[in-house]
Amino acid sequence: MEGVVTIVQESRFQLTDDDGVGHLFILGYLCGTETGQLPTLQRHQSRVRVSYKPAPNLIGNVASSIEVAV
């Protein structure tokens, strides 16, 4: 999924896609991105590509990798 990181709280972030829909993600423990890197992505409004899988029993997804989309 591609979009812009709009909200960051600890290891959770909201990705807003091209249709303006917000999706909640949680950094998975195997994700290479650290908690401290998320605020930078949000500040720069960087376009990112997130690989994920749905979190069990949660309305949210677990991000397994985050790449800056070119």
């Binding site: 709280q9 959770r12 909640l24 949680i26 998975g28 423990y29 979190a55 029993n57 309305i59």
Partner: protein, 326 residues
Amino acid sequence: MDTHPRALEQTASHLRGPIPDESELTAHVLIEPGKSYGFFTDTTVCIGCKACEVACKEWNNLPADNMGLTGQSFDNTGALSANSWRHVAFVEQADLRGPPRSGLDANTRSGCGHASQGGGGVRGNNQPAYQSGWLMLSDVCKHCHNAPCLEACPTGALFKTEFDTVVIQQDICNGCGYCVPACPFGVVDLSTADGKAHKCTLCYDRLKGGLEPACSKSCPTDSIQFGELSDLQQRAAARVETLHGLGVGNAYLYGTPGAPGATGGLGHLNAFFLLTDRPERYNFPVAPTRASNRVAPALTAGLATVATLALAALALFAAEAPGRKK
């Protein structure tokens, strides 16, 4: 009602940005580092609207969890967890006391000053329980003065902030989970999504920005009050006196110095409660303790056991030795 002087500063409909020290307007308190802040939750005015739960989830970007219905009254949150930092408990009570006996009021019948059935006081009679038959309480991390979770943390991820609250630093937490059993209130939880411990931060980021926490700001009845701890404790003591005067003799504080809840070396709780029934009814421990209190007795018992077994083994070998020679 008097208008706060600072409210006159904001005359435009559209704000350019956050109001500096907004907490002065919303909670009548100026948030300054170095002072103790907390919550006073008055359960007698909680209406169970769950605005606090929603505000917490919204501000902290927490995902909805526990899909489906629990079957437990109106409570579908179930309990505090890694993704639910506020939990509104609905304790439904049947009025099983029967008709009042002459010469005994509701509080006397219930024993030890706390009503065991029904709300007590407000409707201490034999009418069918309705509104007074519900106990509602917005549970949250207590931000203990001597926090057992903080003492148990081996990495230093848990720390005391400049506002005397307890926060987990997510980039330092290694997910060992030692803090989970250390908490006497069952607040801290490990997330299955990221493997780290999570709990209420008392909106640390909001406090740094001069805003009161989201839950207390959203509470429509002021059941959750945010403020400086000493001020809140005075306010709570006055509220108990008022309730006693109104006939709610079973009202008491849980978590203030010397009161139930502030036991076992915890000192006091920065998030304390006004209750009208026994703590167990609200799923609170009667006498919570620090886990570190049990380290010395457990270590002594362990060493004593090892010593006893060693002596027993020595005695056995000593008894065996002459037989072998024969």
